[in-house]
């Protein structure tokens, strides 16, 4: 890269172009990926606190139980489900299917609905709808 390249002006692109839904889902896949990676750090910290830090763990549990904590937790869970749904779509594309324009739009909506419905089911199940989650609600 030459010195001159850093000072060249660029035409506005991302600030002005209206991205199609497929493109928005694509960048969301990347964004959720980063959020999920960051969550791994918190997950590790949570396990560590549970194993060696009684006060820290109690603090984390009460934070998770609070409303903002639940919003963050379920936001992360939704990111996980969304990322998985779009990831499945990538595999479908790898197999050569769903690349036609009308299919793309239809699958966009299918994917979004699936992610919301799946998260909703997870929420319902973990709040007493059925008992197969395996742990005891207090």
């Amino acid at each position: 890269m030459t010195h001159g390249m850093k000072t060249r002006p660029l035409s506005p692109h991302l600030q002005v172009y209206r991205l199609p839904l497929t493109a928005l889902l694509s960048i969301s896949h990347r964004i959720t990926g980063v959020l999920l990676a960051m969550g791994l750090l918190l997950l590790g910290g949570w396990l560590l606190a549970a194993s060696v830090n009684t006060e820290g763990f109690a603090l984390i549990q009460s934070a998770l139980g609070s409303l903002p904590g639940q919003v963050v937790l379920w936001g992360w869970i939704y990111s996980l489900v969304f990322h998985a749904c779009h990831g499945i779509r990538h595999i479908v594309w790898d197999l050569g299917h769903g690349l036609e324009r009308d299919r793309l739009m239809r699958h966009n909506l299918v994917e979004l609905m699936a992610s919301v419905v799946l998260t909703g089911i997870l929420f319902a199940v973990t709040h007493g709808a059925t008992d197969w989650s395996g742990s005891t609600p207090s």
Binding site: M1, R30, G33, V34, L36, A37, L40, L41, L43, G44, G45, L47, L48, A50, S51, V52, T54, F57, A58, Q61, L64, G65, G69, L73, W76, I77, L80, V81, A84, G87, I88, H90, I91, D94, T119, L122, F123, V125, T126, H127, S133, G134, S135, T136, P137, S138
Partner: protein
């Protein structure tokens, strides 16, 4: 250093099976992560209600510790592959890129190591 994402002077050799292996690793770890993720999400929905002793007893059981560890290890590797793509797209300065890759790798390995330690500790206390 064989940076499999960038083109180098011997780009003819770069165009070998590395890209295929990365692509395949992403898909295989991704697929394995689907059931593990559903399991984790279900646990996350309820585990915040437990006190430390109950939590440790729960996570200490192999039936829970093993899928948790599997999720963390596979996610760390899957995240590594994805984050490398992000670096390739947005970071071009060679030193910054190298430092970032190293930091990310150490962090991910650290998370898995710390989690394995935590789970092992809880498993020992549970028996």
């Amino acid at each position: 250093m064989n940076d499999h994402h960038t083109v180098s002077a011997d780009s003819g050799r770069m165009a070998d099976h590395q890209a295929t292996r990365v692509w395949l690793s992403e898909r295989i770890t991704g697929l394995a992560l689907i059931p593990l993720s559903l399991w984790l999400a279900a646990q996350l929905g309820t585990l915040h209600r437990l006190g430390q002793i109950e939590f440790a007893q729960f996570m200490g059981q192999p039936a829970h510790a093993l899928p948790m560890l599997a999720f963390l290890a596979l996610s760390a590797y899957h995240a590594w592959l994805g984050l490398e793509c992000i670096l390739d797209d947005y970071v071009h300065h060679p030193l910054i890129k190298r430092a970032s890759r190293l930091a990310i790798a150490l962090t991910l390995i650290g998370v898995v190591a710390v989690s394995a330690f935590a789970l092992f500790t809880m498993a020992q206390a549970a028996t």
